[in-house]
């Protein structure tokens, strides 16, 4: 979690407007998930991969690790759909006394759904690896989402970090005093940690509210947002790109 964030703060796309990156990721994600052909998601996947790894300079190994889980899930879904959905026979596998029949429409469906899934994941990873949270909050605000929603997300973001730090600190303190040396001890240490984490988070939330009050908090969090506009050229480029994706969907056979 901390790692993901490190990359958002230090990658080669830092200079690019956060709003643009968010729009790019979200719009592409939408187009990708409503695609009717598997070619568009595949294209999206490749483009996002290139942007994340080549342009932004995220280490390929790290990216591969993050992709591993969705890819595994995709593979399983693919196999399942291929053999257990649809009617039109495609080919059969004889293994032992069993016959597995793959279906033609099952294959098409698997291709599209797994493609959409991977394409969307690549969009999200692009967003998660190149765009600092602050920029995402700004976009949410620009989209006129309710203040409560945005304030809450901001505080949740902050508290995830507080909690992770607190948990790591406590775990370290326990380990230092041999807290996890055997199974029984591990259970005891873990339950202490979990219980304490709750109390401490509650306490630090309380203190943070006190501190916010002392700076004049009035129920809505006001902070300066990055007001720099997205360059025209970039916006046009983005619009063009999404148009191409949409029209590919219309042109290409289903």
């Amino acid at each position: 979690m901390q790692f993901l964030e490190q990359f958002t703060l230090k990658n080669k796309l830092n200079g690019v407007s956060g709003k643009l990156k968010t729009l790019f990721a979200v719009l592409t994600l939408l187009v990708c998930s409503f695609s009717t052909t598997f070619i568009v998601p595949l294209l999206v996947f490749c483009i996002m991969l290139a942007f994340t790894v080549v342009v932004a300079g995220i280490p390929p190994r790290f990216y591969a690790k993050l992709m591993l889980a969705p890819a595994g899930f995709g593979l399983v879904s693919f196999v399942l759909m291929l053999f257990f959905f649809g009617k039109e026979p495609f080919f059969s596998i004889h293994a032992g006394g069993l016959t597995l029949t793959a279906t033609k429409d099952g294959f098409d469906m698997a291709l599209i759904s797994v493609g959409r899934m991977l394409g969307s994941v690549s969009c999200l990873l692009f967003l998660a690896l190149t765009t600092p949270m602050a920029d995402i909050f700004t976009v949410l605000k620009k989209l006129k989402l309710p203040d409560v929603f945005i304030d809450l997300s901001m505080l949740i973001y902050r508290f995830i970090v507080v909690m992770v730090e607190e948990a790591l600190r406590m775990e370290y303190a326990q380990k230092m005093r041999l807290g996890y040396s055997d199974v029984k001890g591990s259970f005891r240490a873990l339950s202490l940690l979990a219980g304490n984490l709750f109390v401490r988070s509650w306490d630090s939330a309380d203190k943070m509210l006190t501190a916010m009050n002392s700076r004049g908090y009035d129920g809505i969090i006001h902070v300066l947002d990055d007001e720099s506009p997205i360059p025209r050229l970039h916006l046009l480029g983005l619009a063009g790109f999404e148009l191409v994706l949409v029209s590919l969907n219309l042109i290409l056979p289903r």
Binding site: E5, P132, M154, Y157, R158, V162, S204, M208, S214, L224
Partner: protein, 451 residues
């Protein structure tokens, strides 16, 4: 006029802890106050009452002579006037980026976005943090977080500023810079209140000290008054600052006079005054040149040996006039009773830099240094420091500037102090104060008109 006053204030936490019991405190407008006391004495709790973060269980808090009210419009005006920097900066920082966090306070004051932008960059600049604007606060070190927390309160420009243990977690240089920042704020007529466990800082910095214990005020007074009361100090789990400890030890053995020194400088003066200056006459340095009577002679250590040069050099610590003819390579007697006057010049720089003013200032500063030829250069405050740096010269004194300059002057070296805005008056006042405490006349001069 009192900036803050509490009358019979009691405070209980919801769990029943009786943290403050009948506290009566008066804080003069424009003063520098230190609140000392053991852990759990109620210092932080008292500070929360000062900006109405907590409401006293009984008793009243007065701000500028008016009793505090706790409805939302009064609260806003109180918090605009009284700013607190909390003990633990993690509690104070919450926004996704440093810049956003600092902007939170001023935006709550309903200031325009341009004004807020200006204040944010000004306050980040004042605490000496830049380049971190777009990072999330949890990515910073403890000391950096502290500075961001301070900037967050500075940006609200309150007239009373409260710091709960501002020095904890800062490195020595950060501590010196923060001390200077506190002085700078005070020079701008702000009332400053700090709590601290650093006794030497409290002794040297504060105008007045209040000691709290078990939720009650047990003593108030000027630093020398407070720190000469040993039983009080130990009774409050405190410690006597190092210069006073040393002085006490010397005094008991008959090597110092009675006056309690609040800094190392005063301690040294006290010892010198007591023992007389002719004690120094049997020091010798290796002459690195030929010297004639009345020649200027600069002494200092080189590779562990005391040497004398005709010119100022890097490790030089004193200047005197020769009394006799000495050839190069021979020993020259150091006559510290023959120390020429070490002048102190105080030059006021503007308190903010607008546009291209800096380039012009840099030439003027350069000219001043070239014409007066000070041996040492001191800089107080961010603007002065940046101007001096831009002349290509380095300042010798960046922290404890006045003390260092006075000490240098006592060793025959002259210093030019560049001070930001009202800090110049502060420096002048401080020298006058030291002169009076030490019974010595350090000659100093304000060179105002040139900048």
């Amino acid at each position: 006029m009192h900036a803050l006053e509490t009358v019979d204030v009691d405070f209980r936490y919801p769990n029943g802890t009786h943290a403050l019991q009948g506290v009566n405190i008066k804080i003069k407008t424009g003063s520098k106050i230190a609140i000392l006391g053991p852990n759990g004495a109620g210092k932080s709790t008292l500070l929360y009452l000062f900006n109405a973060t907590f409401k006293p269980t009984s008793g009243t808090v007065f701000l500028n002579g008016d009793s505090m009210h706790y409805d939302s419009s009064s609260l806003r005006s109180i918090r605009q006037k009284v700013g607190i920097v909390f003990q633990n900066s993690d509690e104070q920082l919450f926004a996704p980026t440093v810049k956003q966090d600092v902007s939170f306070g001023p935006l709550n004051l309903r200031l325009s976005v341009e004004e807020v932008e200006k204040r944010v960059s000004k306050s980040l600049n004042m605490v000496g943090i830049s380049g971190f604007e777009n990072l999330p606060p949890h990515n910073l070190s403890t000391g950096e977080k502290k500075k961001v927390a301070i900037a967050g309160v500075l940006a609200m420009e309150p007239e009373i500023m409260i710091f709960d243990e501002p020095l904890s977690g800062l490195d020595p240089r950060g501590q010196a810079e923060l001390t200077e920042l506190l002085d700078q704020l005070n020079a701008d007529e702000k009332t400053i209140i700090v709590t601290t466990h650093r006794m030497d800082f409290a002794a040297e910095w504060a105008d007045e000290i209040w000691i709290l214990k078990n939720g009650q005020v047990i003593k108030k007074g000027e630093p020398n008054e407070i720190f000469s009361d040993m039983s009080l100090i130990h009774g409050a789990n405190l410690q006597v600052p190092m210069p006073i400890q040393t002085h006490n030890e010397l005094y008991l053995r008959g090597f110092a006079n009675k006056q309690v020194p609040l800094s190392v400088l005063e301690l040294v003066e006290s010892v010198i005054e007591f023992s007389g200056e002719d004690e120094y006459n049997n020091y010798y340095a290796l002459a690195k040149d030929d010297f004639a009577p009345h020649d200027e002679c600069f002494i200092g250590f080189e590779n562990g040996a005391l040497v004398a040069f005709p010119e100022d050099f890097k490790n030089c610590f004193a200047r005197f006039r020769c009394t006799e003819q000495v050839r190069e390579g021979k020993q020259i007697p150091i006559d510290l009773s023959n120390i020429p006057e070490g002048k102190v010049w105080i030059v006021r720089t503007p308190s903010s830099l607008e546009g291209g003013a800096e380039i012009m200032l840099v030439t003027v500063v350069r000219g001043l240094i070239d014409s007066k030829k000070p041996h040492r250069i001191g800089a107080m405050g961010t603007v002065a420091k940046s101007i001096v740096k831009n002349t290509g010269l380095n300042y010798d004194f960046g922290g404890e500037v006045v003390n260092s300059a006075v000490s240098a002057s006592r060793r025959g070296l002259s210093t030019m102090i560049f001070a930001t805005g009202k800090m110049a008056d502060l420096a002048a006042k401080r020298i006058a104060y030291l002169n009076q405490r030490m019974g010595e006349e350090i000659c100093f001069q304000m060179v105002d008109e040139e900048l």
